[in-house]
């Protein structure tokens, strides 16, 4: 019970705060405003990198959602991101749709895929889900390469079409992921107050209690995976838009593990600031360490361990305030 109370606390605080609507907090609003004006002062390189960072942050939110609401870990979310990315690329190639039109399609594909995938393990322990997601992540490149006539094989596909005609291309690739990120965060805040979210959190806290209220475990598992995969697919779709290309190389098992690392570094946060921290970490570390490729996995692994162990070593009251995952 304490756990759902923990997650509820920030909401109550901001509700009793200043004149803002309860879905917003002051620091997040300031950061969002700063990011909106940033392209006016920063160079093209940073605008490009941050666009990718926002898209990664959305995919990280998908992983965090699963940890927070489902209490499960996935090392296959790269696959759902890939689904979103390929839907956007294929919709452009065959139907000539721009990303704005194919984005709902990508989200739907992600949700369906997540549900389909969670179905076999809906009634049993989450470890099976974790192992199955690992197999999924490893299987994806094989499937993509086999259907190379459609998916473009090793080289992948390009996403060239503009989303909004008339707006400079670099700015589109910055503002669209940013808008997506803000929208996902706001929707997640809104979702937190809904009956469905309460039911999911209740079943995570105590399955017998939830079942006596008529909430089924299998429903919770499917709903969690569907929503989480949908968020990841939106992230992948925007990632393909802002990086202009999709290829099997960008969605390996490592992608999925790195997404989980990002989620851990953000303390499984579903807020704007938390997901930005995770996205920045994930995007900037390989850039900063470009000369030392082998250090990247070590640094990621070390960061994951440091955050997990550090959060565990904090006093219980602090940990509650951070509200990170299952403590």
């Amino acid at each position: 019970m304490s756990e759902s109370a923990t997650i509820a606390a920030p909401l109550e605080r901001s509700a009793s705060g200043l004149a803002l609507p309860r879905n917003l907090s002051w620091p997040a609003l300031l950061i969002a405003l700063a990011l909106v004006v940033l392209p006016l002062v920063a160079g093209g390189y940073w605008v490009f990198t941050l666009g990718i960072c926002f898209a990664n942050a959305i995919a990280i939110l998908g992983v965090s959602f699963l940890v927070r609401y489902g209490g499960e870990v996935s090392i296959g979310h790269g696959v759902f991101a890939a689904a979103g990315a390929y839907v956007v690329a294929l919709a452009e190639k065959y139907l000539g749709l721009s990303v704005l039109l194919s984005l709902p399609l990508a989200a739907l594909t992600g949700a369906l895929l997540g549900m389909l995938f969670a179905y076999p393990s809906r009634n049993i322990s989450g470890i099976y889900l974790a192992v199955a997601t690992m197999a999924l992540a490893l299987a994806l490149p094989e499937v993509l390469l086999y259907f190379s006539g459609v998916t473009g094989g090793y080289e992948g596909l390009y996403v060239k079409r503009d989303a909004l005609p008339g707006v400079p291309r670099e700015l589109q690739r910055y503002y669209l992921p940013l808008a997506g990120l803000v929208a996902v965060v706001v929707l997640l805040r809104h979702f937190r107050g809904s009956r469905q979210a309460m039911a999911l959190l209740l079943i995570r806290t105590s399955a017998p209690a939830a079942e006596s209220f008529g909430v089924r475990r299998s429903w919770a598992r499917l709903a969690c995976m569907a929503l989480s995969a949908m968020i990841a697919a939106v992230g992948g779709a925007l990632l393909s838009f802002s990086s202009t290309t999709v290829s099997p190389n960008s969605f390996t098992l490592w992608t999925s593990i790195f997404l989980l690392v990002g989620s851990v570094v953000s303390l499984y946060s579903l807020s704007l600031i938390g997901s930005l921290v995770g996205g920045l970490f994930l995007t900037l570390v390989p850039l900063l360490l470009a000369g030392a490729g082998n250090w990247v996995p070590i640094l990621y692994g070390g960061a994951l361990l440091a955050v997990v162990l550090g959060a565990n070593a904090l006093p219980a009251a602090w940990r509650k305030r951070l509200g990170g995952g299952q403590s």
Binding site: I75, Y128, A135, I257, V261, V264, I298, G302, L305, G325
Partner: protein, 292 residues
Amino acid sequence: MADVLGLVWAGIISGCLYAMGAIGIVLIYKSSMVVNFAHGNLAGLAAFLVFGFTAGTLGNMAWGAAVVLSLAIMVAAMALTYLVISPLVFKSDLTSTISTLGVGLVVQGLTQMVFGPDVVSLDLPLPAWRVDLGGLRISAYDLTVLGVTALVIGALYLLIERTRVGIAFRAVSANPFASRVCGLSLRRVHLFSWIVAGVLGLIASLLIVPTTFLSSTSVSSFMLQAFAAAVVGGFTSLPGAVIGGIFVGVLMNLLSFYVAAEFTNTYMLAIILLVLNLFPKGVLAVRGGARV
């Protein structure tokens, strides 16, 4: 027909090695409720250590010495891994499982840094002997794998059934709370299972190398087969892991010969999803009834 026989035989051989990997994963899960996602990376590092000590990257030793030294390093590495994640183990299974991924990343990075990303070949010192039995080709390698597997599983059986630490392991995996009340040290049992799992991982990864090749990623993907074997066996059953390993080995060989060879991991995914649908508690659980 001879094809099928040969494929099944080869499947059983590699299945034995998947089983050995799976036993390690199940041992760790049964005692400490942690799914060790670093298992493949650690086993890969072990195989690379043997390669390094025999082929000159780290030294130039005889095979026996190299294996013993790698075994010692592996035991230390497993103990260190457990030590690193030990503050989390009793707090949250989810967090400790996530932290094994961190260990896996670090180990993977270290392997790449020391041994490079290249594919290397590691030949086991086995005689090039083979015999033809009615279309079935049996080589010295096959017999070694079978012999080592039988030896390892026999030893593990005796260890778990007959020794004090084995009894403690069974007690802890059945009921950790009651074991603690009886004065058992849970940490010691956890450490035991992690170290045994590491030793099994080293043996399995060394023996699998002649059939594939050794690169910084090949052994970790071999471990997917081990995970699939564990799932087929129900994840908490040691005999189930053995049966699962052989089942996965045979099925994989048949599928890659008769359907298409490039879908190894996709078959794994299909096997895992199918088994979860048909036997959610593993193939061995079908026989057991439920107590009401």
